[in-house]
């Protein structure tokens, strides 16, 4: 009888993967934290330790403050639009469950979430276009003067919110549908026997049961909106020599500091701020979950 030690297979199988994780996840994460405390311009040999100076500078850097302000507005607006709209859509789709149509609805709502980002953003860019875009033509039909959607600082923010919500809704609908299918039929049955309308049943049975799922989707949507970059890049890049107003978002500011201004330590400090935001959001979600399950 051969006696290969029991631990041999798991150790050998796991080691290369752990090595990968160490090199491409753990090390860069730690390196981000470390670099945020240094001043470094990529080229120079000198990399002086500056403590929290990068963070202190960030606190009064107008570009960074603009970025964090924009990103926060976008993230919370996208959630404020996505969650109620997606909940309503999921409820409607769920009520048509079992019909062939419901699959078509589901797929059409979900498609924007999966198609490539850049072409989708380009489609919206045409819609928003000041001279040729159908949006201006549409509002002109109602007597509203044409707006320069992508050039105005406030409107370009609105455009970005619309684009990101359009992409986020499909994901939220999908998760809500899973949640709605998990609501036991017996509860609806009981509510109906008590004379509740389907709207009431949804409001007082499905919505409370879906609350954890809504919380989860909100946090995921917030986090992914804090990481947007491609959308801002595409909407702002110039077409025929006319650059749109650049909506400065966090990742964009970070990449600019790192690759255009060569301030790697400073950019790492921004990355740490992003990380802290994400950790706070995740932590809040866990906390709320635990409170709920205790109550």
């Amino acid at each position: 009888m051969r006696t290969t030690p029991k631990w041999l297979f798991p150790v050998l199988a796991l080691l290369p993967i752990l090595g990968l994780y160490g090199c491409i996840r753990v090390y860069p994460i730690i390196e981000t934290l470390r670099l945020s405390l240094f001043q470094w311009n990529i080229i120079s040999r000198r990399k002086p330790f500056v403590g929290f100076a990068n963070f202190i500078e960030l606190a009064s850097d107008p570009l960074f403050l603009e970025a964090i302000f924009n990103t926060t507005i976008i993230a919370f607006s996208v959630v404020a639009i996505t969650i109620p709209v997606a909940l309503a859509l999921a409820a409607l789709i769920n009520s048509r469950q079992g019909l062939r149509r419901s699959g078509v609805y589901e797929a059409s709502v979900f498609l924007p979430h999966v198609v490539s980002l850049v072409p989708a953003a380009m489609a919206w860019k045409w819609i928003f276009d000041a001279r040729l875009g159908p949006l201006n033509a549409l509002i002109g039909f109602f007597g509203i003067p044409a707006q320069s959607w992508l050039f105005d600082p406030v409107l370009s923010l609105v455009c970005l919110i619309v684009l990101c919500s359009w992409q986020a809704i499909g994901y939220a609908v999908l998760i809500f549908l899973v949640g709605l299918k998990n609501v036991p039929d017996a509860l609806y049955e009981a509510a109906r026997l008590d004379g509740a309308s389907s709207l009431q049943a949804f409001r007082y049975i499905a919505v409370p049961l879906l609350k954890p799922v809504m919380l989860y989707v909100s946090v995921i949507t917030l986090i992914s909106s804090y990481n947007i970059y491609a959308q801002a890049f595409v909407l702002a890049s110039d077409v025929q020599g006319a650059p749109g107003h650049l909506v400065r978002v966090l990742v964009l500011d970070m990449l600019e500091n790192s690759f255009r201004n060569y301030r790697v330590g400073y950019a790492a400090a921004e990355a740490v701020v992003l990380l802290v935001i994400v950790l706070v959001l995740t932590g809040a979600q866990f906390r709320l979950f635990r409170d709920r399950s205790r109550a």
Binding site: A13, L14, L92, V115, L117, V118, W126, V239
Partner: protein, 284 residues
């Protein structure tokens, strides 16, 4: 739904159902409209692009836009690059997740909970946070503009390991593995011949998820692949549309061509995709 309803209630339900269908149809159309216009614009002549209301089906469909885009840009090359990148990334994520998920789910060694904890902890950190140090490593290894350099960011997926581990723990009985061991099967054989076939469902869902993740990657390929010939589709397209002399027709043609593979892939893999995304929503 029940057959014992009062006739008037049934009539009312039918009216409600009709309204719901109307609303859902309208919303579905609105969601798809930007993409429909994009594809239709690709086939329009310059005068028709200016027409109001915009036509959905071009009156004089033309291939000029597509032909000129294909002659101006290496679009097929970019599509090829994206395909290779997404395929390799998927292969790596599926195999590492299968192995690590199995080992972490079925072997009881000291340290395994810690390892699992670290893997889950890295899942919380967005890629954008540690992208810069990773880039510097790739740069100092001389791997900019190479496949390995591009892939480095997309070799593992913490969620994949989590998903497979959950599946292994709940759906693969220990007795099955023990029986094989008693029969003298080696661990490698057990993994390849017994465990792997059982994991096909969740691995399929994971593969679709991984493929889309790589296919739509933007910031990482943008900084790592900087030659026109090494761009991925998303990057090539984003930089093409910044060009000075591109008009809507050609932009739409390029975007529409880029849209086709992902839309096609989605419609083929919808079940798997939905299953993967739904699973990602159930982790708590």
């Amino acid at each position: 739904m029940s057959e014992h309803e009062h006739p008037s209630v049934v009539g009312q339900n039918r009216a409600v159902a009709l309204v719901i269908d109307a609303v859902l149809c309208a919303v579905s159309l609105m969601m798809l409209l930007p993409l429909v216009f994009l594809i239709s614009n690709a086939f329009k002549t310059p005068p028709e692009l200016l027409a109001w209301p915009p036509t959905v089906i071009p009156h004089q469909p033309t291939l000029d836009n597509i032909v000129s885009v294909l002659s101006e840009t290496p679009l097929f090359r970019w599509i090829g690059n994206s395909l290779i990148f997404a395929t390799l990334s998927t292969a790596s994520i599926v195999s590492t997740s299968a192995i690590a998920g199995y080992v972490l789910g079925k072997f009881d060694l000291p340290g395994i909970p810690v390892i699992f904890g670290v893997i889950i902890a890295t899942a919380v950190v967005p890629f954008e946070v540690y992208m810069i140090p990773l880039y510097l490593n790739v740069q100092s290894a001389g791997l900019l503009n190479t496949w390995p350099g591009l892939l480095v960011g997309y070799l593992v997926m913490s969620f994949g390991i989590f998903l497979i581990r959950q599946y292994v723990m709940t759906s693969i009985p220990d007795e099955l593995l023990e029986a094989a061991r008693v029969d003298g099967a080696g661990e490698g054989w057990i993994f390849l011949r017994i465990v792997l076939p059982l994991m096909r469902g969740p691995l399929g869902a994971l593969a679709v998820l991984a493929f889309f993740q790589a296919w739509t990657a933007f910031a990482w390929p943008l900084v790592v692949m900087t030659n026109k010939d090494t761009y991925t589709l998303e990057v090539g397209l984003a930089l093409f549309q910044t060009g000075f002399t591109v008009d809507t027709g050609r932009l739409s043609a390029a975007a529409a061509l880029a849209l086709v593979p992902s839309a096609l892939f989605f419609s083929l893999m919808r079940r798997n995709f939905v299953r993967g995304v739904a699973a990602s929503g159930l982790k708590e």
